[in-house]
Protein backbone atom coordinates (compact mmCIF):
# COMPACT_ATOMS: atom_id res chain seq x y z
CA UNK A 1 0.00 0.00 0.00
CA UNK A 2 2.63 2.53 1.01
CA UNK A 3 4.65 1.35 -1.95
CA UNK A 4 1.75 2.39 -4.21
CA UNK A 5 1.71 5.87 -2.71
CA UNK A 6 5.45 6.15 -3.13
CA UNK A 7 5.01 5.29 -6.80
CA UNK A 8 2.28 7.91 -7.14
CA UNK A 9 4.54 10.45 -5.50
CA UNK A 10 7.49 9.67 -7.74
CA UNK A 11 5.30 9.72 -10.84
CA UNK A 12 3.67 13.02 -9.94
CA UNK A 13 6.83 14.82 -8.98
CA UNK A 14 9.24 13.45 -11.56
CA UNK A 15 8.79 10.46 -13.88
CA UNK A 16 5.27 11.36 -15.01
CA UNK A 17 5.38 15.06 -14.20
CA UNK A 18 2.54 17.02 -15.80
CA UNK A 19 4.89 19.46 -17.49
CA UNK A 20 8.26 17.76 -17.76
CA UNK A 21 6.96 14.39 -18.98
CA UNK A 22 3.34 14.66 -20.07
CA UNK A 23 3.91 18.08 -21.67
CA UNK A 24 0.45 19.18 -20.62
CA UNK A 25 -0.75 22.50 -19.23
CA UNK A 26 1.84 24.50 -21.13
CA UNK A 27 -0.53 27.39 -21.77
CA UNK A 28 -0.96 28.47 -18.13
CA UNK A 29 2.66 27.50 -17.51
CA UNK A 30 4.10 29.91 -20.03
CA UNK A 31 1.57 32.62 -19.25
CA UNK A 32 2.16 33.04 -15.52
CA UNK A 33 5.79 32.13 -14.89
CA UNK A 34 7.25 35.61 -15.34
CA UNK A 35 7.95 35.54 -11.60
CA UNK A 36 8.35 32.66 -9.18
CA UNK A 37 5.58 34.01 -6.96
CA UNK A 38 3.02 33.99 -9.76
CA UNK A 39 4.06 30.46 -10.62
CA UNK A 40 3.62 29.38 -7.01
CA UNK A 41 0.19 30.99 -6.78
CA UNK A 42 -1.00 29.39 -10.01
CA UNK A 43 0.47 26.05 -8.94
CA UNK A 44 -1.26 26.09 -5.56
CA UNK A 45 -4.59 27.05 -7.12
CA UNK A 46 -4.25 24.25 -9.69
CA UNK A 47 -3.22 21.76 -7.00
CA UNK A 48 -6.29 22.65 -4.98
CA UNK A 49 -8.52 22.05 -8.01
CA UNK A 50 -6.71 18.81 -8.87
CA UNK A 51 -7.14 17.39 -5.37
CA UNK A 52 -10.83 18.25 -5.31
CA UNK A 53 -11.45 16.98 -8.83
CA UNK A 54 -9.59 13.72 -8.08
CA UNK A 55 -11.71 13.30 -4.98
CA UNK A 56 -15.07 14.06 -6.58
CA UNK A 57 -14.48 12.17 -9.83
CA UNK A 58 -13.42 9.07 -7.88
CA UNK A 59 -16.39 9.49 -5.56
CA UNK A 60 -18.87 9.43 -8.44
CA UNK A 61 -16.93 7.05 -10.68
CA UNK A 62 -19.39 4.18 -10.24
CA UNK A 63 -22.50 6.09 -11.28
CA UNK A 64 -20.93 7.95 -14.21
CA UNK A 65 -21.36 6.07 -17.48
CA UNK A 66 -18.62 6.17 -20.12
CA UNK A 67 -20.94 7.90 -22.61
CA UNK A 68 -21.45 11.04 -20.57
CA UNK A 69 -18.23 11.00 -18.56
CA UNK A 70 -16.49 13.86 -20.38
CA UNK A 71 -19.27 16.45 -19.92
CA UNK A 72 -19.67 15.40 -16.29
CA UNK A 73 -15.92 15.73 -15.63
CA UNK A 74 -15.85 19.12 -17.32
CA UNK A 75 -18.84 20.22 -15.27
CA UNK A 76 -17.17 19.12 -12.03
CA UNK A 77 -13.87 20.83 -12.89
CA UNK A 78 -15.54 24.03 -14.10
CA UNK A 79 -17.58 24.27 -10.91
CA UNK A 80 -14.49 23.80 -8.75
CA UNK A 81 -12.51 26.39 -10.70
CA UNK A 82 -15.31 28.93 -10.46
CA UNK A 83 -15.49 28.38 -6.71
CA UNK A 84 -11.73 28.85 -6.39
CA UNK A 85 -11.95 31.99 -8.52
CA UNK A 86 -14.65 33.50 -6.32
CA UNK A 87 -12.92 32.50 -3.10
CA UNK A 88 -9.62 33.95 -4.24
CA UNK A 89 -11.23 37.20 -5.35
CA UNK A 90 -12.76 37.56 -1.91
CA UNK A 91 -9.97 36.40 0.42
CA UNK A 92 -6.76 36.73 -1.60
CA UNK A 93 -7.74 39.82 -3.50
CA UNK A 94 -4.27 41.19 -4.25
CA UNK A 95 -3.13 37.90 -5.69
CA UNK A 96 -6.35 37.64 -7.64
CA UNK A 97 -5.50 40.92 -9.36
CA UNK A 98 -2.33 39.27 -10.66
CA UNK A 99 -3.60 35.77 -11.36
CA UNK A 100 -7.28 36.47 -11.92
CA UNK A 101 -6.89 36.43 -15.65
CA UNK A 102 -5.40 32.94 -15.58
CA UNK A 103 -7.68 31.21 -13.08
CA UNK A 104 -10.38 30.49 -15.68
CA UNK A 105 -7.61 28.90 -17.74
CA UNK A 106 -7.42 26.09 -15.18
CA UNK A 107 -10.69 24.78 -16.66
CA UNK A 108 -8.96 24.23 -19.97
CA UNK A 109 -5.94 22.74 -18.24
CA UNK A 110 -5.88 19.35 -19.93
CA UNK A 111 -3.78 17.95 -17.10
CA UNK A 112 -6.77 18.01 -14.76
CA UNK A 113 -9.17 16.39 -17.22
CA UNK A 114 -6.41 13.96 -18.14
CA UNK A 115 -5.96 12.80 -14.55
CA UNK A 116 -9.73 12.58 -14.06
CA UNK A 117 -10.00 10.39 -17.14
CA UNK A 118 -6.93 8.22 -16.75
CA UNK A 119 -6.63 7.85 -12.99
CA UNK A 120 -9.49 9.09 -10.83
CA UNK A 121 -12.25 7.42 -12.89
CA UNK A 122 -10.83 3.97 -12.16
CA UNK A 123 -9.24 4.20 -8.71
CA UNK A 124 -10.36 4.60 -5.13
CA UNK A 125 -11.21 7.96 -3.59
CA UNK A 126 -8.17 8.07 -1.32
CA UNK A 127 -5.58 7.18 -3.93
CA UNK A 128 -7.21 9.51 -6.49
CA UNK A 129 -7.08 12.38 -4.04
CA UNK A 130 -3.44 11.56 -3.31
CA UNK A 131 -2.70 11.33 -7.03
CA UNK A 132 -4.30 14.76 -7.53
CA UNK A 133 -2.16 16.18 -4.75
CA UNK A 134 1.05 14.72 -6.16
CA UNK A 135 0.29 15.72 -9.75
CA UNK A 136 -0.60 19.20 -8.51
CA UNK A 137 2.59 19.50 -6.47
CA UNK A 138 4.56 18.29 -9.47
CA UNK A 139 2.91 20.98 -11.56
CA UNK A 140 3.68 23.57 -8.86
CA UNK A 141 7.28 22.39 -8.81
CA UNK A 142 7.52 22.89 -12.58
CA UNK A 143 5.89 26.32 -12.40
CA UNK A 144 8.14 27.52 -9.60
CA UNK A 145 11.29 26.18 -11.27
CA UNK A 146 10.47 27.93 -14.51
CA UNK A 147 9.43 31.06 -12.63
CA UNK A 148 12.69 31.13 -10.66
CA UNK A 149 14.79 30.80 -13.82
CA UNK A 150 12.87 33.46 -15.71
CA UNK A 151 12.71 35.86 -12.79
CA UNK A 152 16.41 35.68 -11.96
CA UNK A 153 17.52 36.15 -15.56
CA UNK A 154 14.73 38.52 -16.51
CA UNK A 155 14.53 40.88 -13.53
CA UNK A 156 17.34 39.87 -11.17
CA UNK A 157 14.93 39.26 -8.28
CA UNK A 158 13.51 36.18 -6.60
CA UNK A 159 9.99 35.71 -5.23
CA UNK A 160 9.09 39.37 -5.69
CA UNK A 161 5.76 40.18 -3.98
CA UNK A 162 5.75 36.82 -2.19
CA UNK A 163 4.21 38.51 0.84
CA UNK A 164 1.10 39.28 -1.21
CA UNK A 165 0.60 35.55 -1.69
CA UNK A 166 1.79 34.05 1.58
CA UNK A 167 1.41 36.89 4.05
CA UNK A 168 3.96 39.27 5.53
CA UNK A 169 5.72 36.46 7.40
CA UNK A 170 7.16 35.27 4.12
CA UNK A 171 8.54 38.62 3.01
CA UNK A 172 12.04 37.26 3.75
CA UNK A 173 11.67 35.25 0.53
CA UNK A 174 11.74 38.44 -1.51
CA UNK A 175 15.30 38.80 -2.67
CA UNK A 176 17.03 41.15 -5.03
CA UNK A 177 19.82 38.98 -6.33
CA UNK A 178 21.44 41.40 -8.73
CA UNK A 179 21.55 45.02 -7.62
CA UNK A 180 20.82 47.69 -10.27
CA UNK A 181 20.06 45.02 -12.83
CA UNK A 182 18.59 46.51 -15.98
CA UNK A 183 16.62 43.34 -16.69
CA UNK A 184 16.63 40.98 -19.62
CA UNK A 185 13.27 41.65 -21.21
CA UNK A 186 13.20 38.57 -23.43
CA UNK A 187 12.98 36.22 -20.46
CA UNK A 188 9.86 37.91 -19.10
CA UNK A 189 8.10 37.86 -22.47
CA UNK A 190 6.51 34.63 -23.77
CA UNK A 191 9.49 33.65 -25.99
CA UNK A 192 11.64 33.56 -22.87
CA UNK A 193 9.17 31.12 -21.35
CA UNK A 194 9.58 28.78 -24.33
CA UNK A 195 13.37 29.11 -24.25
CA UNK A 196 13.63 28.43 -20.52
CA UNK A 197 11.20 25.50 -20.76
CA UNK A 198 13.23 24.01 -23.62
CA UNK A 199 16.43 24.15 -21.60
CA UNK A 200 14.72 22.71 -18.52
CA UNK A 201 13.31 19.80 -20.55
CA UNK A 202 16.70 19.11 -22.09
CA UNK A 203 18.23 19.23 -18.62
CA UNK A 204 15.71 16.73 -17.28
CA UNK A 205 16.36 14.35 -20.19
CA UNK A 206 20.09 14.63 -19.58
CA UNK A 207 19.66 13.92 -15.88
CA UNK A 208 17.42 10.94 -16.58
CA UNK A 209 19.95 9.51 -19.03
CA UNK A 210 22.77 9.97 -16.52
CA UNK A 211 20.80 8.09 -13.90
CA UNK A 212 20.00 5.35 -16.41
CA UNK A 213 23.64 5.05 -17.52
CA UNK A 214 24.75 4.96 -13.93
CA UNK A 215 22.33 2.18 -12.99
CA UNK A 216 23.21 0.05 -16.07
CA UNK A 217 26.91 0.65 -15.39
CA UNK A 218 26.60 -0.55 -11.81
CA UNK A 219 24.53 -3.59 -12.81
CA UNK A 220 27.00 -4.58 -15.56
CA UNK A 221 29.87 -3.97 -13.16
CA UNK A 222 28.28 -6.32 -10.64
CA UNK A 223 27.79 -8.87 -13.44
CA UNK A 224 31.49 -8.66 -14.28
CA UNK A 225 32.52 -9.16 -10.69
CA UNK A 226 30.18 -12.13 -10.57
CA UNK A 227 31.81 -13.57 -13.70
CA UNK A 228 35.28 -13.04 -12.28
CA UNK A 229 34.49 -14.66 -8.98
CA UNK A 230 32.86 -17.57 -10.78
Amino acid sequence: MSNGYRTLMREGMWTNNVVFSQMLALCPLLAVTGTATNGLGMGLASTFVMVLSGFSVALFRNIITPEVRIPVFVLIIATLVTLVDMGMNAWLHDLHKVLGLFIPLIVTNCAILGRAESYASRNSVISSTFDGLMMGLGFTFALVTLGVVREIIGSGTLFANASLLLGDVFSFLELTLIQDYKGFLLMILPPGGFLALGFLLAGKRLLDRRIEDLSTATSSASLETNAVTN
Binding site: V72, N89, A90, H93
Partner: protein
Protein backbone atom coordinates in the same frame (compact mmCIF):
# COMPACT_ATOMS: atom_id res chain seq x y z
CA UNK B 1 -13.59 -0.38 -17.04
CA UNK B 2 -16.10 -3.00 -15.97
CA UNK B 3 -18.37 -2.85 -18.95
CA UNK B 4 -19.81 -6.36 -18.70
CA UNK B 5 -21.03 -5.79 -15.17
CA UNK B 6 -22.82 -2.54 -16.07
CA UNK B 7 -26.46 -2.94 -15.09
CA UNK B 8 -28.94 -2.54 -17.95
CA UNK B 9 -30.53 0.67 -16.70
CA UNK B 10 -27.23 2.50 -17.05
CA UNK B 11 -27.43 2.17 -20.82
CA UNK B 12 -30.80 3.86 -20.82
CA UNK B 13 -30.82 7.32 -22.34
CA UNK B 14 -32.95 8.70 -19.54
CA UNK B 15 -30.38 7.53 -16.97
CA UNK B 16 -27.67 9.42 -18.85
CA UNK B 17 -29.85 12.51 -19.12
CA UNK B 18 -30.73 12.38 -15.44
CA UNK B 19 -27.08 11.89 -14.53
CA UNK B 20 -25.97 14.92 -16.52
CA UNK B 21 -28.92 16.95 -15.27
CA UNK B 22 -28.21 15.94 -11.70
CA UNK B 23 -24.62 17.07 -11.93
CA UNK B 24 -25.69 20.34 -13.53
CA UNK B 25 -28.10 20.90 -10.65
CA UNK B 26 -25.42 20.06 -8.09
CA UNK B 27 -22.99 22.50 -9.74
CA UNK B 28 -25.63 25.22 -9.81
CA UNK B 29 -26.35 24.77 -6.10
CA UNK B 30 -22.64 24.89 -5.24
CA UNK B 31 -22.08 28.00 -7.36
CA UNK B 32 -25.06 29.79 -5.82
CA UNK B 33 -23.72 28.96 -2.38
CA UNK B 34 -20.24 30.20 -3.38
CA UNK B 35 -21.60 33.38 -4.87
CA UNK B 36 -23.71 34.20 -1.84
CA UNK B 37 -20.82 33.69 0.57
CA UNK B 38 -18.25 35.72 -1.40
CA UNK B 39 -20.39 38.47 -2.97
CA UNK B 40 -20.21 40.93 -0.10
CA UNK B 41 -16.49 40.47 0.51
CA UNK B 42 -15.69 40.96 -3.18
CA UNK B 43 -17.84 44.09 -3.29
CA UNK B 44 -15.97 45.45 -0.27
CA UNK B 45 -12.61 44.66 -1.88
CA UNK B 46 -13.54 46.42 -5.13
CA UNK B 47 -14.69 49.46 -3.19
CA UNK B 48 -11.40 49.41 -1.31
CA UNK B 49 -9.54 49.34 -4.66
CA UNK B 50 -11.44 52.41 -5.84
CA UNK B 51 -10.82 54.20 -2.56
CA UNK B 52 -7.09 53.57 -2.75
CA UNK B 53 -6.85 54.79 -6.32
CA UNK B 54 -8.87 57.94 -5.63
CA UNK B 55 -6.74 58.72 -2.59
CA UNK B 56 -3.64 58.57 -4.79
CA UNK B 57 -4.71 61.57 -6.82
CA UNK B 58 -6.63 63.60 -4.24
CA UNK B 59 -4.70 64.50 -1.09
CA UNK B 60 -6.60 64.10 2.15
CA UNK B 61 -6.17 67.71 3.28
CA UNK B 62 -8.35 69.23 0.56
CA UNK B 63 -11.57 67.44 1.38
CA UNK B 64 -13.68 66.60 4.39
CA UNK B 65 -16.29 64.40 2.73
CA UNK B 66 -16.44 60.73 1.85
CA UNK B 67 -15.18 60.71 -1.73
CA UNK B 68 -16.68 57.38 -2.65
CA UNK B 69 -20.19 58.40 -1.67
CA UNK B 70 -20.10 61.74 -3.43
CA UNK B 71 -20.10 60.61 -6.99
CA UNK B 72 -21.99 61.61 -10.10
CA UNK B 73 -22.16 59.88 -13.41
CA UNK B 74 -21.90 61.97 -16.56
CA UNK B 75 -22.52 60.92 -20.13
CA UNK B 76 -19.71 62.00 -22.41
CA UNK B 77 -19.12 60.78 -25.95
CA UNK B 78 -21.32 57.69 -25.49
CA UNK B 79 -19.55 56.79 -22.24
CA UNK B 80 -20.68 56.96 -18.68
CA UNK B 81 -17.94 58.57 -16.65
CA UNK B 82 -18.11 58.22 -12.89
CA UNK B 83 -16.77 61.33 -11.19
CA UNK B 84 -15.81 61.36 -7.50
CA UNK B 85 -16.00 64.79 -5.92
CA UNK B 86 -13.84 66.10 -3.12
CA UNK B 87 -15.53 68.78 -1.07
CA UNK B 88 -14.25 71.12 1.57
CA UNK B 89 -17.06 72.79 3.53
CA UNK B 90 -19.55 71.83 0.83
CA UNK B 91 -17.55 73.47 -1.94
CA UNK B 92 -16.12 71.18 -4.57
CA UNK B 93 -12.35 71.46 -4.34
CA UNK B 94 -11.34 68.70 -6.74
CA UNK B 95 -12.70 65.80 -8.75
CA UNK B 96 -11.30 62.42 -9.71
CA UNK B 97 -12.36 60.28 -12.63
CA UNK B 98 -11.08 57.51 -14.83
CA UNK B 99 -9.84 58.01 -18.37
CA UNK B 100 -8.53 55.41 -20.74
CA UNK B 101 -6.29 55.29 -23.78
CA UNK B 102 -5.37 52.67 -26.32
CA UNK B 103 -1.80 51.58 -25.62
CA UNK B 104 0.50 49.12 -27.29
CA UNK B 105 -0.83 46.09 -25.46
CA UNK B 106 -4.44 47.12 -24.96
CA UNK B 107 -6.40 49.58 -22.89
CA UNK B 108 -4.55 51.74 -20.39
CA UNK B 109 -6.78 52.78 -17.51
CA UNK B 110 -5.82 55.93 -15.63
CA UNK B 111 -7.29 57.88 -12.77
CA UNK B 112 -7.04 61.63 -13.05
CA UNK B 113 -7.37 64.10 -10.19
CA UNK B 114 -8.26 67.65 -11.23
CA UNK B 115 -8.56 70.68 -8.98
CA UNK B 116 -11.59 72.89 -9.33
CA UNK B 117 -9.48 75.47 -11.20
CA UNK B 118 -8.55 72.90 -13.84
CA UNK B 119 -5.01 72.07 -12.69
CA UNK B 120 -4.00 68.42 -12.54
CA UNK B 121 -3.48 67.16 -8.99
CA UNK B 122 -2.13 63.79 -10.00
CA UNK B 123 -2.40 60.94 -12.44
CA UNK B 124 -1.96 57.23 -11.74
CA UNK B 125 -2.15 54.18 -13.94
CA UNK B 126 -4.75 51.73 -12.67
CA UNK B 127 -4.23 48.93 -15.16
CA UNK B 128 -2.31 48.37 -18.35
CA UNK B 129 -0.84 45.58 -20.44
CA UNK B 130 2.23 47.37 -21.79
CA UNK B 131 5.59 45.72 -22.36
CA UNK B 132 7.44 45.10 -19.09
CA UNK B 133 10.66 47.09 -18.98
CA UNK B 134 9.66 49.48 -21.76
CA UNK B 135 6.09 50.72 -21.53
CA UNK B 136 5.62 50.10 -17.83
CA UNK B 137 7.56 53.27 -16.99
CA UNK B 138 4.15 54.92 -16.85
CA UNK B 139 3.71 53.33 -13.42
CA UNK B 140 4.50 55.72 -10.60
CA UNK B 141 6.63 53.20 -8.68
CA UNK B 142 8.87 52.52 -11.68
CA UNK B 143 9.52 55.96 -13.09
CA UNK B 144 8.75 59.54 -12.04
CA UNK B 145 7.49 60.32 -15.55
CA UNK B 146 3.83 60.33 -14.55
CA UNK B 147 4.49 63.18 -12.08
CA UNK B 148 5.40 65.51 -14.95
CA UNK B 149 1.68 66.15 -15.44
CA UNK B 150 1.15 67.53 -11.94
CA UNK B 151 0.07 71.17 -11.91
CA UNK B 152 -0.59 71.37 -15.63
CA UNK B 153 -3.88 72.47 -17.12
CA UNK B 154 -5.32 73.34 -20.50
CA UNK B 155 -4.96 76.99 -19.51
CA UNK B 156 -1.27 77.02 -18.57
CA UNK B 157 -0.18 74.58 -21.29
CA UNK B 158 -0.99 75.30 -24.93
CA UNK B 159 -2.96 72.69 -26.82
CA UNK B 160 -0.02 71.93 -29.14
CA UNK B 161 2.15 71.00 -26.14
CA UNK B 162 -0.13 68.09 -25.21
CA UNK B 163 1.89 65.49 -27.08
CA UNK B 164 5.13 63.57 -26.71
CA UNK B 165 8.31 65.33 -27.88
CA UNK B 166 8.48 63.21 -31.01
CA UNK B 167 5.12 64.65 -32.05
CA UNK B 168 6.19 68.21 -31.21
CA UNK B 169 4.81 68.29 -27.68
CA UNK B 170 6.49 68.72 -24.32
CA UNK B 171 6.35 65.27 -22.75
CA UNK B 172 9.22 62.77 -22.85
CA UNK B 173 8.71 59.51 -24.65
CA UNK B 174 10.64 56.43 -23.51
CA UNK B 175 13.41 54.97 -25.61
CA UNK B 176 11.85 52.06 -27.46
CA UNK B 177 8.31 52.95 -26.49
CA UNK B 178 6.46 55.89 -27.98
CA UNK B 179 2.98 54.46 -28.34
CA UNK B 180 2.50 54.02 -24.59
CA UNK B 181 3.31 57.60 -23.46
CA UNK B 182 1.45 58.98 -26.48
CA UNK B 183 -1.66 57.08 -25.40
CA UNK B 184 -1.30 58.35 -21.83
CA UNK B 185 -0.85 61.98 -22.92
CA UNK B 186 -3.87 61.78 -25.21
CA UNK B 187 -5.99 60.18 -22.51
CA UNK B 188 -5.08 62.92 -20.04
CA UNK B 189 -5.77 65.61 -22.61
CA UNK B 190 -9.20 64.20 -23.35
CA UNK B 191 -9.83 63.94 -19.62
CA UNK B 192 -9.07 67.64 -19.20
CA UNK B 193 -11.31 68.49 -22.15
CA UNK B 194 -14.06 66.48 -20.50
CA UNK B 195 -13.51 68.41 -17.29
CA UNK B 196 -13.62 71.77 -19.06
CA UNK B 197 -16.81 70.97 -20.93
CA UNK B 198 -18.57 69.69 -17.85
CA UNK B 199 -17.00 71.99 -15.30
CA UNK B 200 -20.26 73.71 -14.37
CA UNK B 201 -22.01 70.43 -13.71
CA UNK B 202 -19.07 68.96 -11.85
CA UNK B 203 -18.26 71.67 -9.37
CA UNK B 204 -21.74 72.97 -8.84
CA UNK B 205 -22.69 73.02 -5.20
CA UNK B 206 -25.62 70.93 -4.22
CA UNK B 207 -27.59 71.69 -1.12
CA UNK B 208 -27.95 69.00 1.50
CA UNK B 209 -26.78 66.30 -0.81
CA UNK B 210 -29.60 66.86 -3.28
CA UNK B 211 -28.70 67.72 -6.85
CA UNK B 212 -29.56 71.25 -7.84
CA UNK B 213 -31.73 71.71 -10.88
CA UNK B 214 -29.72 70.88 -13.94
CA UNK B 215 -28.77 73.92 -15.97
CA UNK B 216 -26.34 72.50 -18.50
CA UNK B 217 -27.12 70.23 -21.39
CA UNK B 218 -25.85 67.26 -19.39
CA UNK B 219 -28.25 65.54 -17.10
CA UNK B 220 -27.05 65.26 -13.58
CA UNK B 221 -27.61 62.06 -11.74
CA UNK B 222 -28.18 62.02 -8.02
CA UNK B 223 -25.18 61.17 -5.92
CA UNK B 224 -24.83 57.53 -5.03
CA UNK B 225 -26.34 56.19 -8.22
CA UNK B 226 -25.38 52.64 -9.00
CA UNK B 227 -22.59 52.59 -11.52
Amino acid sequence: MTEESTPGYKNNVSYQALLLGGFALLSAVLLIFGNVSTKDVIQKMLLEDTRKSVNHVIPGNIHDNNLLEDKISIKYKNQEIMVYRAKLKNTVSAVAFQVSGQGYGGRILLILGVKADGNILGVRVLSHAETPGLGDKIEANRDPWIYSFNGLSLENTPMSDWAVKKDGGRFDQFSGATITPRAVVNAIKSGLLFFRENRDTLIKEDTAGKPATSKGKHKQSPAGEVS
